[in-house]
């Protein structure tokens, strides 16, 4: 029987009631008394020299409070990058200035140049149109390889060129080269990981507020990590000490990475609220979001796989160009390096792996982490080249993967990470069972009878979640710790508020976290509430991204709850006149082992706050504990995914007919929520594979700047329910965190794109088309063109 409460159960989400009745409190729902509105004048050219900004006429327009330009921010810090990468020569990456409002030059379409604060949004927009901007359009660089050629236009005049860093990692290059020289077979593939836009359905919003009474600033913002924003904006941009700055991220309508970063609009609203002595609100339109939210992916790679005569993988070499866009977004530099290179070994015991990455500045929107962040890019390269190798050497793609699986744990890869646990054979076998492989031939024949080509695609992946420990990531260049924190506040009558550093923007923490605390204490989940998203209420935590919430913040919560239990046992021992070592906690009762003497949870908590009969000489009153948890290692979820697609040879249209994911997330606290996370990740992965593409023209104009041009997956783009299974029954618990959990938020987005593309190639090959690769999105036109040879 499935459990009906606690760890492993799937209680209905408590946050749903407010979301289903319109009672959610998203940032745009917040109006502060007396607020003004800001409209940003953004660059409509990809690269331009700002000769003059004349705001006189605009400033005289009705309702205008004040107009800001780059000159107003000359004494203010720029938007910082949170990770310094060291290149292969030991030099730090190039880190150009990133002003809040453009100074001297605009460097991408959407770069904010001026900001109009007015009584109403309409007045702000009207006044922005009256600003006389003299901007001289300059040649733009868009293509990464062209940007690195001698004489290319420079995005930043103060840098030597457009190279941010040239990074090399893993096995020494000469050793890997020697392996390749002696290989029985080498498979090479060049591919593009298409630029995407995260597109959480809630556009970004920022409301700055300032109180002269106590010189305090407050920012309401759509963020995945309010403390990170407070630290970056307070310490590096505006110079506001943390005790004078509160950052609140209330209900947030999805993030997927793009709401991790500190954005110029947040700093602007906080700054302008003080400068105008009036709250200032900015609500992004979707069109603005396309040109100001950090984009994702955009890697151009060449990957080579060396095999010996027995088809063992003996070497892997990659060469990637990673687009940084015009400025370094908060974690941009870490994505193609430490979140990508470290995963390049995948699920395989390839002894030599060398990764090369060149990060490049272009006149495009900054690129940063998007669901998976580096790991989808690694997986896509590896799993595509393995499929190609299988075809070239004439072996089954499942068998080739299986033969090369890592089977002994812990396993230290040539790319610096140590997988603590896993069972790749188990997830592969589960996938095979759920896919009904013996039935494939009949399904293919049925498709062919309907004039369609049917293909099968398989993919294995590993990801690294809960990036840590802090001292290691510090050595790698992180400018922040990557622990998290929780405070468990037990109230006098036994109810509990848990203040957590993690932030929930769809993940269901308000439901899941109480399942853990309630199980540990043996009390009802309704007694436990989660508080998150407000730096004035929660301990300093690093927020939610990289599938880290339960593995890192959940572990902090477990540690804090253990401290609560230890103290409560001391109190119970006093009340029961027993020795502390004899006290047991079960089902919310503290009892003396082997007797029927007990006190209830509520009696102990009341004693802590009304300490009349209490060992005051030994322990303090009250029952509140905080724990900070810094993990010993990443966690390593892994899985095997497979799908069947149909290709219509007349149109090139691809449909996903069957999809199976077999994941190993370690222990699962709430299966319903885990499955929901996988559904969402797979939809985004199928979106990347078949539909989504952020496109620029050669002049740096953004061609896909609305939902009319950027194809978001709709309900009818995804597999029907009877042919779609997400499984997480294979569980090898994480060995180094107290819950044995690994993280499930990104798996679907990592595992699905290569699965789809592998299946499309298989379908085309089955129809006699000698097509080895099609870049994503595998759109009807691209498929049809490939079929024409």
């Amino acid at each position: 029987m499935p459990k009906d409460h606690g760890i492993g159960a799937s209680p209905k989400r408590r946050e749903d009631v407010r979301f289903l009745t319109g009672a959610g409190n998203y940032t745009d729902d917040i109006n502060v008394q007396g607020q003004a509105y800001v409209h940003f004048l953004r660059s409509d050219v990809a690269h331009g020299k700002i000769n003059n900004i004349d705001t006189a006429a605009a400033a005289a327009m009705p309702g205008v409070v004040r107009i800001f330009t780059g000159a107003d921010f000359e004494g203010v810090g720029g938007i910082p990058c949170g990770w310094q990468v060291t290149d292969k020569h030991g030099e730090p990456m190039k880190e150009p200035a990133h002003p809040v409002l453009a100074q001297g030059k605009a460097r991408h379409v959407g770069d904010p140049i001026a900001a109009v604060v007015a009584d109403s949004l309409e007045e702000a927009r009207n006044a922005a149109e009256a600003i006389e901007l003299d901007i001289e359009e300059l040649p733009a660089v868009v293509d990464m390889k062209a940007a690195l050629e001698g004489g290319a236009t420079k995005v930043h005049d103060d840098l030597d060129d457009n190279l941010c860093y040239d990074w090399q990692f893993g096995s020494p290059a000469d050793e890997t080269d020697a392996v390749f020289a002696n290989a029985a077979h080498v498979t090479t593939l060049e591919l593009i990981n298409n630029r995407l836009v995260a597109n959480p359905m809630e556009p970004r919003v920022a409301v700055g507020d300032y109180s002269r009474a106590n010189d305090e600033s407050k920012l309401y913002t759509t963020s995945q990590n309010p403390h990170v924003i407070r630290l970056l904006m307070g310490a590096f941009v505006l110079g506001i000490p943390e005790h004078k700055l509160t950052v609140i991220a209330p209900d947030v309508g999805g993030g997927f990475g793009t709401k991790i970063f500190h954005y110029a609009e947040e700093a602007f609203c906080t700054f302008a609220a003080k400068a105008c002595n009036r709250p200032v609100k900015w609500t992004s339109t979707r069109s603005e979001a396309f040109m100001s939210d950090a984009h994702g992916r955009d890697h151009v790679s060449k990957i080579e796989l060396a095999l010996d005569a027995d088809n063992n993988f003996i070497g892997l070499r990659t060469d990637t160009y990673a687009n940084m866009g015009a400025y370094l977004s908060t974690f941009a530099s870490s994505v193609p390096t430490w979140l990508h290179g470290t995963l390049m070994a995948g699920n395989y015991k390839t002894p030599n792996v060398t990764v090369n990455v060149k990060a490049v500045f272009t006149n495009t929107v900054p690129v940063d982490a998007y669901r998976g962040a580096g790991r989808p890019e690694a997986t896509y390269q590896l799993e595509r080249v393995i499929d190609k190798a299988a075809r070239e050497v004439g072996v089954d793609p499942i068998a080739l993967r299986r033969q090369n699986f890592i089977t002994q744990f812990p396993y230290a890869t040539p790319v610096a990470v140590e997988y603590d646990t896993g069972d790749y054979e188990a997830t592969m076998a589960k996938m095979e069972e759920l896919m009904d492989l013996p039935g494939f031939a009949a399904r293919r024949a049925a498709s062919e009878a309907n004039g369609k080509l049917r293909g099968f695609g398989v993919n294995c992946f590993i990801e690294a979640c809960g990036i840590a420990p802090s001292n290691l990531v510090g050595q790698l260049g992180a400018r922040a710790g990557l622990y998290d924190a929780a405070t468990v506040r037990v109230n006098a009558t036994g109810s509990i508020s848990v203040m957590v550093g993690a932030h929930s923007h769809g993940q269901g923490h308000e439901t899941v976290f109480p399942q853990v605390v309630a199980e540990m204490l043996g009390i009802d989940e309704s007694m436990v509430d989660i508080v998150h998203g407000d730096t004035s209420k929660i301990p300093f935590g690093m927020g939610t991204y990289g599938s880290r919430s339960l593995a890192v913040c959940g572990s902090a919560m477990v540690r804090a709850t253990e401290k609560i239990i230890n103290k409560a046992k001391k109190i119970a021992a006093h009340l029961l006149e027993a020795s502390e070592g004899d006290i047991e906690l079960k089902d919310g009762q503290f009892s003396i082992a082997g007797t029927d003497k007990s006190v209830a949870w509520g009696d102990v908590t009341l004693a802590a706050y009304v300490p009349h009969n209490y060992p005051l000489e030994d322990i303090e009153p009250g029952l509140e504990e905080t724990a900070f948890y810094d993990p010993a290692n990443f966690t390593y979820p892994a899985g095997a995914y497979a799908c069947e697609v149909e290709v219509d040879p007349d149109t090139g249209k691809v449909t996903v007919e069957k999809f199976v994911s077999a994941d190993d997330f370690g222990n699962v606290v709430n299966p319903m929520i885990v499955e929901g996370q996988v559904h969402g990740g797979i939809a985004q992965g199928i979106g990347q594979a078949l539909l989504e593409n952020c496109a620029y023209d050669e002049n740096g104009q953004l061609l896909s700047a609305s939902y009319m041009d950027y194809a978001m997956p709709r309900a009818d783009d995804l597999p029907h329910m009877e042919n779609y299974t997400v499984d997480h029954s294979c569980q090898t618990p994480c060995t180094h965190n107290p819950l044995g959990v690994k993280g499930c938020g990104e798996a679907g987005a990592i595992g699905s794109p290569p699965t789809i593309v592998n299946a499309v190639i298989d379908a085309l090959q089955s129809g006699g088309h000698n097509v080895e690769h099609i870049d994503m999105p595998v759109s009807p036109s691209r498929v049809w063109e490939a079929m024409q040879g």
Partner: protein
């Protein structure tokens, strides 16, 4: 300024608005019914769907003045009279048909309009009908399941994943 009068969630309201005030803006800013969300500016995402005279409408595509004299229902009006969740709302909670909740009001309003015209839709009909509602979190799987369940269809075999 134009005076508009309409019945919203059973209550008559009269307001003076500018002629270019969008219905979505009117609901959110004038009536402070912030459950209706705005997720795009090209009438594609469907987060702003409400019912006007019983028809599903993207409230960002009509002016408030156009709704003068209409009967309007928003997500805030979908509960049962006793305050409990309505059938569709309950099905969304039961089947985890929402994550961040931002697209949810529009999804529920669209689902209600679908079930009014087609009380027992097939999966394909539901997926087709939701063409104008984008969700980025759920992959739609559990939304489709919730709508089937709300229409009284047995989804227990699908639930077993």
């Amino acid at each position: 300024m134009t005076e508009v009068t309409m019945v919203v969630n059973g209550k008559s309201v009269t307001k003076s608005v500018k002629g270019n005030t969008l219905m979505s803006e009117f609901l959110r800013e004038e009536l402070r019914l912030t459950g209706t969300h705005v997720g795009c500016d090209t009438s594609q995402c469907g987060a702003c769907v409400v019912h006007v005279n019983g028809e599903a409408v993207k409230s960002c595509t009509m002016f408030a003045a156009e709704a003068n004299g209409s009967e309007v229902k928003t997500i805030e009006g979908m509960e049962n009279p006793d305050g409990s969740l309505g059938v569709i709302q309950q099905a969304f909670q039961d089947h985890h048909g929402l994550q961040c909740g931002f697209c949810t009001p529009g999804m529920v309003m669209s689902a209600a309009a679908l079930l009014k015209d087609n009380p027992k839709p097939t999966e394909a009909e539901i997926r087709d009908y939701l063409e104008g509602n984008i969700c980025r979190c759920t992959g739609y799987h559990n939304i489709v399941k919730a709508i089937m369940a709300a229409s009284g269809q047995d989804v227990t075999s699908i639930a077993a994943e």
